[in-house]
Symmetry: C2
Subunit: 688 residues, 2 copies
């Protein structure tokens, strides 16, 4: 292994501002570790971050008050700095349960600082708030508006007081060994908006406290109308003035603070306002968001709210100068991004019909995701983006282990998983491409099978990113297969999209070369589920219909294609075959003798195979855009809980070992700039 | 059992101010529970408190940050209010290790409040500090001197900031349910002095931060001279002015605050200064203490100290009015009490040659105290104030169990313990006194033996209070035996004083009736140690010499005295007896046929018994002021680790069953106003 990488620890990295900051850090080459208790946030944010940045982000579900657990994280990673978000943050709530606020925020920080001290990590960026200034209009004249950092602090609620206490603790800690501690205190004004990807954003539990989240819920129909608290202030439209800053600008402010600390050699303690310096009224924001939504949203002007004041605009000059940071996005940008996030995720991260659980003894990298819509339930795991359960009207249709660790058994016959970079065999573990010869691991006899030693099936895929329209789920997993891994050329990005409908499930592959390392590679992807409709330990008595009866002749010894496509002797197209002891299959049947291009999604989806069982109600139809499919009766299966013929496989894909045959090679050669694609669909109906 | 008693929880009750407050509370009828982590304090303070107030004070060694342990205390006792002292309190140290200060003080309080909340205890008196005001001279004019509670807060060090944070937390908690929480914030000025008893006081670890403790160490010779930081202030003598308040006055302030809270029916939050309102300069205090010591103490004027200001005097009017409390003691009183504490405890609670450990599985009530001086080592336990070890030049001389729990074995033959209220037998378990008949438990045949079912030997004695002059320890234990307990009349207070010298140990009994419940009771006390010089399992071969050979004739069946004092047939005064199988003793030998008065300490200390052993070096001489002594060869012993004749007893006391014989009764009848007393001494020398 290479030397340990420097990591930045992000506490509360699953939260609104935290998650956006993680993205900015990773996109700027930082390695980050996230700890979050998830009491007020969702791990889905992390999963989506990993999907967005296309790399894993180490995550630990830790309450920072648990010094022991937190310390373990410092043991596992070489942490050089901390950005500290973890906190409770609802002003109103803080007046009702102040102890919880002091405990979470203040105790939490003390615990964090003690662990940092213990591990000699003495660089911290702290997530403070403009709330520490309190009501700056108390100075009568406008001497303190826009608010500078030297403005005296006097928070008016427990939440604000916890932030101020923490600032003081940090100041005292810095003073206690001022040569060592580097402390950046960032005082936020009003963060708004969401990530332009539309994949992460603010996901308030309960009734939102802030203007825009509330407005968004009005727009999406979760709230009736916006209440405007007072329109008799001395502003251009009578509503109070605040400094709204796009959360992405805010996130970048942390990056700026971090590099500031990295640049200084001795210790330091400094506060910076993060704001735009431009005040906007409630109505300004209202209009901007209505514009983004495309219609005027319902609102009502009600009485002033206790504690509200006319103007709380930041003076961000210090940050502009010292951090060389400036807010660049507009309220319009924020409203656009917020609306994208809101429409894509009307209920935030929580999606009805979807739930997940940890699937391995340790960690979040491999979770099990269960989706239910209409008659279909499907469970997908990150490992191999595999199908762990597939049921129609309560009938379970695939072979699976009940826990993630079992999938690592050497006897696992690729249950439910997606295989690649090249499914099926590569003769003699080598191939030629653009005049160059590539060697791949010989993991089956003299050949390479299903992508080699650590194929796509043995990797934890990133994501998923889930969306739901009406009763249809779209679930995306991503995998980056690095150049040279298993001997294949080029960084390959693969995205698999499961579409889950009330009576069907389809999965679509999309792969392309990234990072310009090579001009071409080879790809052949398929799903390797073992199907069994019977509800019994064996598939015997299953009636199957192949819609095609030509197959690839193979050499009996090497099991490699001879190059001939001939009629299969023991079956006939569209004539049902009763699976009994004599009916053995492990052959590639041909849908299109002419093969195909690199993206078969352009060609039509054809029925290829059908299965029923006398003692089951489900009729199972397989369709695909692929030019061939392997039909395997699972005679080699022998693993925990399953034996010979426990399930059969239908693997739509490119011709077996295409790369070894000039005429078939184009099916699997993916050139830079092109996209590999294919689509396979499982349709279910009640047997007539 | 009776209904649960209401308790006040005192956190940090073993500390300087805490311990004095506990005394005031108990003396005013409160029941208190003390929790203290003892990191900065000593359990000896609690032991001495119990000795002073003559009752047990429940104690738990708990760090209040340990919510679980703290909650157990709330489960064990019905707590109705809390006085919260527990905190780190050294200003200078707080600037070096601020995190520990925030953790101990702030986290500690949050944890305490959470446990209180959980147990629905919502009344708290908080130990704050005038430090929260910071440098009040910052207001230029003297508008804030003397300092009123409305003076703006701005502490200048982490310690002060922890106190202010806690005040804010308490205010927020009160506001969150203002009808329920009752909060009293007491801001102390400069506590000085010690308890008039001289038994408890300030015991600073390391170099004292404060003027008087430092001055006291100069006086006692632990420090060379006092440094006076600046004599060029605008005061009458050029030294800064502070508000020094006697710790006992301060303690009473807590009592006043507590009754204030008890009086108010709805919730409340209020700050009060606890000070005298009278400023004194450093030199004022210096002179007052020099006067108490009786000589001028060495000092040197050095430069001003950073952060020092001219005048920090309290305005205590609010406390005077609202709490009806006023500081009444003078600086002179404080200096006198401090000097008494200092001379009596030159090294504070830590005494060279003394150490203690817990002696039972649970709790501090029964500790084992070991003292070493010269050739003598003795270990004393609170249970029965018993002697667990007694050695001379490394030769162990008494029978003992090695842990406190074994002393509760039913087979324990009174090892090392002090027996009472009436040692030896009371015929037929009843006696007449002032015409009234009292019945006592018949715990041996038809008689009462050694005070009945739960005699003095089975009680945990209070204390000890230990002092050391040159190489002599004085160790006092106290026991209150309640009226009617075991059938005896009157509340009897017994104090046993062990005097431990380099070659001798003596123990002295002093008992008197308290609380005026009866005119008279009966008392007869003795120590029941089993001696064995041999270092072997048996006392056989021991050579003993009785200095008297008359004894109390007893009835063979009842073992009760016949009333005759006659020559003992099988031994002669001053003629050594070799203890072999034939030599059996369980008789009371007579030192003075005329008996004695109730306090034998007035008569002389007479040698009564001597013992040596051929294979041991120690010569053991017993002397006593008592008129008789029981000599018992331990033939009835049969307990864990010990059998017949493992040790012999010498029990100097009053005549057996005196109360049943008119002529002897005066020996044991203790009248109100009189004092029962006796003295017994063990002297050791190296055998010639």
């Amino acid at each position: 292994m290479s030397a340990p990488q420097d990591y930045i620890l992000i506490t509360g990295g699953a939260g609104y501002i935290g998650s956006h900051t993680v993205i900015e850090l990773v996109n700027n080459g930082y390695k980050v570790v996230v700890v979050d208790s998830l009491v007020n946030s969702s791990y889905d944010a992390i999963a989506r971050i990993e999907y967005i940045v296309k790399q894993p982000v180490p995550f630990y579900q830790v309450d920072i008050r648990d010094g022991e657990k937190l310390n373990e994280v410092f043991q596992k990673h070489k942490i050089t700095g901390v950005i500290h978000f973890a906190a409770l943050k609802a002003v109103g709530e803080s007046t009702e349960i102040p102890l919880e606020y002091y405990d979470n925020n203040v105790n939490g920080t003390i615990s964090l600082l003690q662990v940092m001290n213990k591990n000699n990590v003495k660089s911290i960026v702290f997530s403070s708030s403009a709330t520490v200034y309190g009501d700056v209009t108390r100075f009568g004249d406008n001497s303190m508006i826009p608010i500078p950092e030297h403005c005296p602090t006097d928070p008016t609620n427990p939440y604000g007081r916890t932030k101020l206490v923490i600032e003081n603790i940090l100041r005292d800690v810095h003073s206690s060994s001022s040569s060592e501690w580097k402390v950046a205190v960032l005082r936020y004004f009003n963060p708004i908006g969401a990530h332009p990807s539309g994949l992460i954003g603010e996901d308030p539990l309960g009734i939102p406290n802030n203007l825009l989240p509330y407005l968004a819920q009005v727009a999406i129909g979760r709230r009736e109308k916006l209440s405007v608290f007072g329109s008799d202030y001395a502003s251009h439209d009578g509503t109070p003035i605040r400094d709204y800053i796009h959360v992405v600008d805010l996130a970048k402010g942390h990056l700026a603070a971090l590099s500031f600390l990295n640049k200084t050699n001795e210790g330091s303690f400094r506060e910076w306002n993060l704001g735009t310096g431009k005040g906007s009224t409630v109505f300004d924001v209202y209009h901007a968001f209505s514009k983004a939504v495309g219609r005027d949203l319902p609102y009502e002007v009600v009485g002033r709210r206790a504690g509200d004041v006319l103007d709380l605009t930041a003076n961000p000059t210090r940050a502009n100068k010292e951090l060389e940071w400036k807010a660049e996005l507009t309220i319009e940008d924020a409203c656009k991004d917020l609306w994208k996030w809101t429409t894509g995720n009307p209920t935030g991260f929580k999606i009805e019909g979807y739930e997940w659980k940890l699937f391995e003894t340790e960690g979040h990298a491999n979770r099990l995701h269960t989706f239910t819509t209409g008659d279909v339930t499907i469970a997908l795991a990150n490992r191999g983006a595999l199908i762990q359960d597939l049921s129609f009207q309560g009938e379970h249709l695939v072979c699976a282990y009940d826990n993630g660790d079992d999938y690592k058994l050497p006897t696992n016959p690729f249950f439910g998983t997606n295989v690649g970079r090249v499914a099926n065999r590569i003769a003699n573990g080598e191939f030629k491409l653009n005049g160059q010869t590539y060697k791949t691991p010989k993991n089956e006899n003299n050949n390479t099978l299903h992508g080699g030693l650590v194929g796509f099936d043995k990797r934890n895929w990133l994501g998923p990113v889930i969306s739901k329209k009406e009763d249809v789920f779209t679930v995306k997993f991503a995998l980056i297969d690095e150049d040279g891994h298993n001997g294949f050329p080029g960084d390959l990005q693969t995205i698999i999209t499961y579409t889950i409908e009330p009576t069907a499930v389809s999965h679509e592959y999309e792969a392309k070369l990234i990072n310009d390392k090579v001009d071409a590679t080879i790809v052949n992807l398929t799903n390797h589920s073992y199907f069994n409709l019977s509800g019994e330990p064996t598939t015997d008595d299953t009636d199957v219909t192949l819609f095609y009866d030509k197959y690839m002749e193979v050499d009996d010894k090497t099991l490699l294609p001879t190059g001939n496509l001939i009629k299969y002797p023991h079956a006939t197209a569209n004539v049902p075959v009763h699976l009994d002891q004599d009916a053995f299959f492990d052959y590639c049947f041909i849908v299109d003798e002419d093969g195909c291009g690199i993206d078969t999604r352009k060609s039509q989806l054809k029925p290829i195979f059908k299965a029923t069982h006398p003692r089951a109600n489900t009729e199972f139809l397989f369709s695909s855009t692929e030019p061939s499919f392997q039909f395997y009766t699972g005679d080699g299966v022998n693993t925990k809980g399953f034996v010979k013929r426990s399930g059969f496989c239908i693997e739509p894909a490119r011709f077996v070992d295409s790369i070894s045959f000039e005429k078939w090679a184009p099916q699997v050669i993916l050139k830079k700039g092109e996209t590999y694609g294919s689509l396979t669909k499982y349709s279910f109906s009640k047997k007539q």
